[in-house]
Amino acid sequence: MPAAEVAARVRESLQSIKASDFKDAQVMDVLELAQQLTSTMQLFFGSLDRSIHQEFSYIATYISRTREEISKLRPNDIKEQRIPVAGAELEAVVTDTEKATETIMSEAETILGLDAEADPAAYKERVDAAMMTIIEACSFQDLAGQRVSKVVTSLKHVEKRVTRFAQSMGVHDADADEDEKSEAERKRELHLNGPAIGGPEKKQNEVDNIMDLGQDDIDALFD
């Protein structure tokens, strides 16, 4: 029975009791009214039980579905495998590139420091050896490429799962926390944009043109 109907029936019973002349009422009349009120209240509490039961059922179903979605998100795999492995791969890329750069620069610096005219034959031999060492060192690019591919694959997996979870649960982003906000604010104030994707946003000649501009021309860039 809908709550509004129950309330109406309770109201009717109470009005009926109030309207009764208790002084002259027969005991049976009073009992009848009491019975009517009790029946109405039973209906009311019965409907209340059903309503609460329905609410709890809905909540239980929602919790169950959320658990299932979180399970599909596989957060432990992300936390214990995907992210740590991706981090380790990127650190290895940095280490590999550092080693390769060190090798290449050392060989280049050695060659630059040699006296080519003192002993041309020895010089050529040393240059040939250095070139081979430099060529070998460039193999880091293949390894770095493979490592970065693994990281990209992992990020795509994580992105796919998070996207599915957010869509399925109807999640909306909360505001960033204070640390993130202050970090973003610092980057904005200090113009910390980092390298642009696909090369410099402004080429050197365009930078030179900006450096040659007067204040009015600079202001016009932002109009």
Partner: protein, 128 residues
């Protein structure tokens, strides 16, 4: 006025490799008196102790960025006239304009070569 080739130059970058690259390029164009710092704080401390003929600084460093170093250098009487070239991967218009407003003498976008470095140094210091 002729450029003093033995003048001390301070190279500021948080990547040792980049400092080494700039050192080599400077050596190739005739400057061998090169000092280095890993961020703005260390650079400014060195500048307070010694006068440099030129500062070549990266932008994106921690804890003090090259942009903050430039601002500090220009606001201090003992360092404000030091020639300052920014060498950075920050290539947005806003970066170039901010550096210019802060008093940078020239701006080089990474990656760059010895020719660009020499040309910008000549523009700041005079031909050498």
């Amino acid at each position: 006025m002729a450029v003093e080739m033995s003048m001390p130059i301070l190279v500021v970058d948080d990547y040792k490799t980049m400092i080494r690259i700039i050192r080599n390029l400077l050596k190739q164009i005739g400057f061998e008196n090169v000092d280095e710092a890993a961020d703005g704080t260390e650079a400014f401390e060195k500048m307070k102790k010694q006068k440099y003929g030129l500062v070549i600084s990266d932008w994106n460093m921690e804890p003090m960025t090259g942009y903050e170093l430039l601002q500090r250098v220009r606001s201090d009487d003992s360092t404000k006239n030091t020639p300052f070239i920014m060498v950075t991967a920050e290539s947005k218009t806003e970066n170039v304009v901010a550096a210019k407003k802060a008093g940078v003498n020239n701006y080089i976008v990474k990656p760059f070569n010895a020719g660009t470095l020499k040309a910008k140094m000549a523009a700041v210091l005079g031909d050498f």
